[in-house]
């Protein structure tokens, strides 16, 4: 209650003027001169005119907005704005006492100007080097070869150490020991449950629609709740505010159409993109093999840029259907529907900006065989979040609260098992406060605390802390630490014995069960050598408690019955990144170990030890990634190579027909068929490695039309990487074989 009272007090303070203010305030929106779109992470700096000592600064957020407070009035300042790829901006400003100045600045694109290196960090804008955080740009995404002209976020994410997939199908990401249901994916602050397609090469997020993405592999701040392991925070870009553009692309995997433009110049814009897979029909011709997957996505965004307010409305629809393991004759389906809006208001009448997000997110996943839907699980959410700012002495605070109505619906049916279902509506309240305390040029502290609760459970207080130390005061060296407690009021349960089954039962934590929680600790060190080379080393540990894992039974099936396990994930990553003129290379190596522990009797596993300790199916010990990109003569050549050690799997102990002798007559009764598993996760798959290459170039057709072509090969040396095996036939199922492709895209500029 004390926290609630404190937050309410802050809310009241946020809307009212409690004291007279002598200092001035600058609110600024930085946009691109070319298309009027906001520029995220632009440095807004205030100097003494002609001097080089930085007085004040801020970094623009995804709407291009930032504000600088406590500006001493009645004197001159030089405002400088820098952004990579744009010409620097400079202007002399003066402020009157208590003035709240709002500026809208357009930056001109400058080809070849790499601009000033990012040296400033700000709220929700993370520069590289912070523990557990990767800021992903569209340039990063475009360097990963994918069989489409556009890059895709999920292809890039898989190049990160610590990000593990079950193979090249399934759409599940395991991030530093966490399972997919423990990841929170946000798009423009709207949650989306599983935006990754059944082909792990694609998600709903082409680099055509993304502005930026922050990937928190752990240790994230208090503004993120109800996620226990990782956060992927994606910001879509606005449509062009000044011109209509569009494109269409064709590749063996998919076709896509994209359009954007102003509804009212410099005020309203739209961006729409739709993609539909084609691989199911074309694969037999290209690789002489069936690829029974089908997916589609649609992303739409409306943006309003008013004088004192920026709003966007985002709509996303994804659909996936496919046989993850074709021999199983089991088709997995999932779909996401998201519709919501986010508004940032910074009217001079407001003491502090206010951000409001509201919307609906729906998700369902199902499994069917022989056209019969056997299992179904859905999660529908309606939510409202309000974020505000305050200043406590010199420490800027962000705080907020929200309510989330979550409706779970689960229907499980399987031959010879009874139908079990869950249907519940659960409201969850959350609130948080986070500070950003720059102790000195060398030390920065970001403490925070959050809590959330439902009618069933209270998650308790979740303290979070991020800390950065720059030994020499510059960004060349940085030691950063992140730690915190993370609680989740729902769980996802899948058949963990079978990587071919991606169906996940999303369910609230039962009243009698304890809530899952995790503690994260991350230490990172970054060193820049010269202007071209960056090295980053991180060590991390995450504990997991009260993780629901499905009970093991002799035969594979999904049940809502779960047992509680605890887990520990720890490891380290090493990243090396080199970039000079037209050559880019990065290498990342990750080592990790994940163990779960549970009481054997609770699991139902056939293990004699009272406590069973095992490595779950996503425990990949070694992962090595190399990514290179080279631009020459108008061409861009990209190469990606990945090597990963084998993940645990459960052997088959035997195929049996159980006869209940002597009651059953062996001469008449065949018995009950059962596939028996051996010791869970007792063996490991062989190593995996794959090389993908691509070569692309743009061909201007006219002043308005551009043809881009990309050719490449997925799995260039045709490595037979195992995905799984069919438990009924023991047939080995491999990942995608050598897959050549040619993609073309026609754009109207």
């Amino acid at each position: 209650m004390k926290i609630l009272s404190s937050v309410l007090l802050l809310v009241i303070c946020g809307f009212t003027e409690l004291r007279a203010q002598d200092e001035a305030l600058l609110r600024i929106v930085v946009i691109s001169e070319a298309d009027g779109s906001p520029l995220v992470a632009a440095n807004v700096l205030i100097y003494e005119p002609g001097e080089e000592e930085l007085l004040l600064n801020c970094v623009t957020n995804p709407t291009g907005f930032c504000e600088i407070r406590d500006i001493e009035a009645a004197r001159e300042y030089e405002l400088r704005i820098s952004y990579v790829g744009f010409s620097a901006y400079s202007e002399i400003l003066t402020f009157e006492e208590g003035e709240r100045k709002t500026l809208r600045v357009e930056l001109e694109e400058s080809v070849g100007d790499m601009g000033e290196e990012l040296t400033v960090r700000g709220e929700r804008v993370i520069t590289t080097g912070e523990a557990g955080v990767r800021r992903v740009s569209t340039v990063d995404i475009s360097r990963v070869p994918t069989p489409g002209v556009d890059g895709d976020l999920v292809s890039y994410l898989q190049t990160e150490p610590g990000v593990v997939t079950t193979g090249d199908r399934g759409g599940d990401l395991f991030i530093r020991g966490g399972t997919p249901d423990q990841n929170l994916v946000l798009v423009d602050n709207l949650p989306i449950a599983k935006p990754f397609h059944v082909s792990n090469l694609f998600s709903a997020f082409s680099d055509e629609v993304i502005q930026s993405a922050d990937v928190y592999a752990g240790g994230y701040g208090s503004e993120y709740t109800n996620a226990m392991s990782a956060v992927i925070d994606i910001n879509l870009r606005s449509g062009n505010f000044r011109e209509y553009t569009g494109s269409g692309a064709v590749s063996p995997y998919m076709v896509s159409l994209q359009a954007e433009g102003p509804l009212v110049n410099d005020r309203h814009s739209f961006l729409v993109m739709g993609r539909k897979s084609t691989i199911e029909g074309l694969a037999p011709t290209i690789i002489n093999d069936e690829v029974p997957i089908n997916f589609a996505d649609f992303v739409g965004r409306y943006t309003l840029q008013a004088d004192n307010m920026t709003c966007n409305v985002t709509g996303i629809y994804t659909f996936d259907s496919g046989e993850v393991v074709p021999t199983q004759q089991l088709r997995s389906e999932w779909s996401n529907t998201v519709l919501g809006g986010r508004c940032l208001a910074y009217d001079p009448g407001l003491k502090y900006p206010i951000e409001i997000t509201a919307g609906y997110s729906g998700f369902y996943n199902a499994e069917r065989s022989n056209e019969v839907r056997e299992r179904y699980s859905s999660l529908n959410q309606v939510y409202l979040n309000v974020n505000m700012r305050e200043q406590l002495w010199d420490v800027p605070l962000i705080y907020g609260f929200g309510v989330n109505f979550r409706s779970y619906d689960v229907v499980l049916s399987e031959k010879f098992t009874e139908i079990e279902s869950v249907s519940r509506l659960i409201p969850i309240m959350n609130m948080f406060v986070s500070g950003n305390w720059e102790i000195s040029d060398r030390f920065e502290l970001q403490p925070g605390i959050t809590t959330h609760f439902s009618v069933d459970h209270y998650g308790g207080l979740e303290p979070r802390l991020r800390f950065a130390w720059k030994p020499d005061g510059s960004s060349r060296q940085e030691l950063s630490i992140a730690a915190g407690k993370y609680v989740q009021l729902f769980s996802g349960v899948g058949d963990q014995r079978d990587v071919g089954s991606v169906f996940t039962v999303l369910q609230p934590i039962k009243l009698a069960d304890k809530v899952p929680q995790s503690y994260h600790g991350i230490v990172g060190y970054q060193q820049k050598l010269g202007a071209a080379f960056v090295a980053n080393v991180e060590g991390y540990a995450k504990t997991y408690k009260n993780i629901p894992v499905s009970k093991w039974t002799p035969t594979a099936r999904i049940q809502l019955e779960t047992a509680n396990a605890k887990g520990l994930a720890y490891g380290f990553d090493v990243r090396l990144r080199f970039q000079q003129s037209n050559f880019f290379m990065s290498a990342g190596y990750g080592w990790s170990e994940i163990t779960y522990e549970a009481i054997t009797g609770d699991l139902g596993a056939w293990i004699v030890e009272p406590i069973f300790e095992y490595s779950p199916a996503h425990d990949q010990r070694h992962k090595l990634n190399v990514l290179t990109s080279y631009t020459f003569g108008g061409f861009t050549a990209n190469l990606r190579w990945e090597l990963g050690s084998g993940k645990p799997y459960t052997q088959i102990f035997g195929y049996d027909f159980e006869v209940l002798v002597p009651a059953q007559d062996v001469t008449q009764i065949p018995g009950r068929a059962r596939t028996l598993y051996s010791r869970p996760f007792g063996e490991r798959m062989p190593y995996y490695h794959r090389m993908d290459v691509s070569l692309s170039r743009g061909f201007p057709i006219s002043s308005q039309w551009l043809l881009e072509a990309e050719t490449g090969v997925i799995n260039t040396y045709d490595r037979s990487n195992v995905f799984n095996f069919d438990i009924n036939t023991l047939q080995r199922v491999n990942q995608t074989p050598l897959f050549p492709y040619l993609s073309v895209k026609l754009s109207m500029e």
Partner: protein, 276 residues
């Protein structure tokens, strides 16, 4: 660690990873643990018994199960008689099921060893001791409803006897109670297994009669015991769900079924029946 040492370590580690990447084999079947599943019961009263044997390493498909790579023998360890068992198969649920035929008489209180041998020499050996075959004795018989009756099986050897009790009251269907279990865990021979009951207690259990039935309500003046006498541990392997995967595929033992009728006097006992 110096930069040079780190570089050497890093390159060595990288090479080790690359070498590890050359192995691409996958063994989904745990061939070391599971060889055969065996479901068989040797009935002392029969001169032909069947034992189901299944190769656990063979998936569920017709071709793979058409033949079974197994040579099965049953040895009477007391007499030394070894019988090589012939097999029969039948097709059901898309696969062939192989039963091995035992033609020797099963002797009470004899030790038997079943050996299933694969062509590569891999063996599964199971043993059991057939139950003794005592004639049960009920005492006293032809007594009134309130007199306890003791049934004795002697001699028995580390054994379990499970039985149902049936009797026919008036106006209702034949009542069947059980199963009741008598265990004797002694490894010594000559021990007795006993069960004591009082007829009136069973009559009170007749469904739908609110406990008011007495022996006077019996149409046939007797209690019928249908019992099965099992070899050591066999009954437990049937009723308990084995926690161990391997044990759950090895269900082999000996038994026999028999019956015992216990006559009683259905005359009225007064008191207490006369005050009802």
């Amino acid at each position: 660690m110096s930069p040079e040492k780190f570089a050497v370590w890093f390159v060595f580690s990288l090479l080790a990873l690359l070498l590890a990447g050359c192995d691409n084999s996958l063994e989904p079947l745990d061939r070391d643990t599971g060889v055969y599943s065996i479901y068989g019961s040797l009935d002392v009263n029969k001169n032909r018994n069947e034992i189901r044997v299944r190769d656990l390493n063979v998936p569920f498909n017709t071709d793979a199960t058409a033949e079974i790579d197994a040579a099965v023998t049953l040895e009477n360890l007391n007499s030394g008689l070894v019988e090589a068992l012939d097999s029969e198969r039948f097709f059901e649920a898309g696969v062939y099921h192989h039963n091995f035929i035992v033609t020797q008489n099963i002797e009470p209180y004899a030790d038997y060893q079943l050996t299933v041998t694969r062509s590569d020499g891999e063996q599964v050996i199971l043993t059991t001791t057939a139950p003794t075959y005592p004639a049960p004795v009920a005492e006293p018989v032809n007594e009134k409803c309130y007199t306890p009756i003791e049934i004795t099986f002697e001699p028995v050897y580390e054994t379990t006897i499970a039985f149902f009790i049936e009797f026919q009251p008036r106006d209702v269907r034949k009542t069947r109670l059980g199963p009741f279990v008598i265990r004797n865990d002694s490894e010594l021979t000559g021990e007795a297994a006993t069960y004591t009951f009082t007829p009136v207690d069973l009559m009170k259990l007749v469904p739908g009669t609110l406990g008011r039935y007495r022996c006077t309500d019996l149409i046939i003046p007797r209690f019928e015991f249908y019992y099965a006498h099992y070899s050591p541990g066999f009954y437990e392997s049937i009723v308990d769900n084995p926690f161990d995967a391997f044990e759950s595929t090895q269900r082999f033992g000996a038994y026999y079924e028999d019956q015992l009728f216990v006559p009683i006097d259905t005359g009225r006992v007064c008191p207490p029946d006369c005050v009802r």
